[in-house]
């Protein structure tokens, strides 16, 4: 495939593909001559992932580059690699603030407690390595600061539900051959599936509201 063919197969304009090549989101093709390059199936898959990240996931180009670098980094262990890619994705939580802030400190402590009660012993170790605690704690603190309910008891059932579903997610990933493909799929499904999950949540709230109060 040449660049223009890659463009036709993907529906992405050549100008945009060039832009992604320049930005390092897409690896360069195999050079055929001084002015031509050859692209393969791998480029097509990667291009689709990039589009999903940027168009659907609204991920900034620089962040997408970082995520992809983790996806491609086979020097990492499987879980770390997955984690690095997932946590580089924007989480929508407010930017991590000062750890000294008492609200944030309280939220952090509560998260530890939450993980203990969930029995997520690995997550506690992972959390220490990744920005996950800070991000979660900042989000939790903000929620509370604005007067929304975000106590431990509220969070527990949500977390349990997510873990139950995570088992299914991992089962699905096991069907894939290579580790790279698994991480790629996890990232893609984070970007594409998460909106669906939230839509289902909102629809469920409406359903429940209709049951209780009519229209």
């Amino acid at each position: 495939m040449r660049l223009s063919e890659l463009s036709e197969h993907s529906g992405v304009s050549t100008a945009t593909i060039k832009f992604y090549l320049r930005e390092g989101l897409l690896p360069p093709g195999r050079r055929i001559s001084a002015t031509q390059a050859e692209y393969g199936e791998h480029h097509l898959r990667r291009l689709r992932l990039v589009r999903a990240l940027i168009q659907i996931g609204k991920v900034p180009v620089a962040t997408a580059r970082e995520v992809l670098s983790h996806v491609d980094d086979d020097s990492l262990g499987r879980t770390i690699r997955l984690g690095a890619a997932l946590w580089a994705l924007p989480q929508g939580n407010p930017p991590a603030e000062d750890l000294e802030d008492p609200e944030v400190a309280a939220a952090t402590a509560e998260l530890e407690e939450l993980l203990t009660r969930l029995g997520w012993s690995n997550a506690q170790q992972i959390g220490a390595l990744s920005p996950v605690y800070r991000s979660l704690a900042a989000g939790l603190a903000t929620l509370r600061r604005l007067g929304f309910p975000g106590d431990l008891e509220t969070l527990l059932p949500y977390a349990r539900a997510m873990h139950e579903l995570a088992e299914r997610d991992l089962d699905a990933l096991e069907a894939l051959d290579s580790e790279a493909e698994q991480v790629e799929t996890a990232v893609g499904s984070a970007v594409l599936f998460e909106p669906l999950l939230l839509s289902l949540r909102r629809l469920a709230q409406e359903e429940e509201s209709a049951r209780r109060y009519g229209y």
Copy 2:
């Protein structure tokens, strides 16, 4: 409160508040004189909601305006009002496409089936009125087009989990007095809580990955 005091209490610059007033995200204050206006608690609450929508939720200004107009519209029934506000919020799903597209049509049919099996009879009627089906169907179709699993059996447990959690959400809302406050809270918690939920999901996936494969 005058504009500058509103700014101090909220931590939002006067220039930005002026911008929001201009854009209709914040109702004008009570005019004290030709060149001065008075703002109250309501303005402060609304300003915080606007900041949450725009800063955390990355909601475009025009969309925020629409969401807020639904929040304030007390001519609607409770459920419709809630639904209008929630569905005006960006869902992250790809833009709704052609209904003729066979992929989208198939996804739509499957959604109907999903709701039937869930027993969400109200949601079926609500869906007909709101862009929810189109948005969900488009997201589902995109997911499949890129080769991710998105069949009925996969979706069912997620939807059930969301409904279970929605009951808790509605319980929490019942503690609030006015309907306007309930809708406002639902919107705020959609914006602030959803990222937390997704973070929990990602953390759960990592926990499960660590359990299965180590680090």
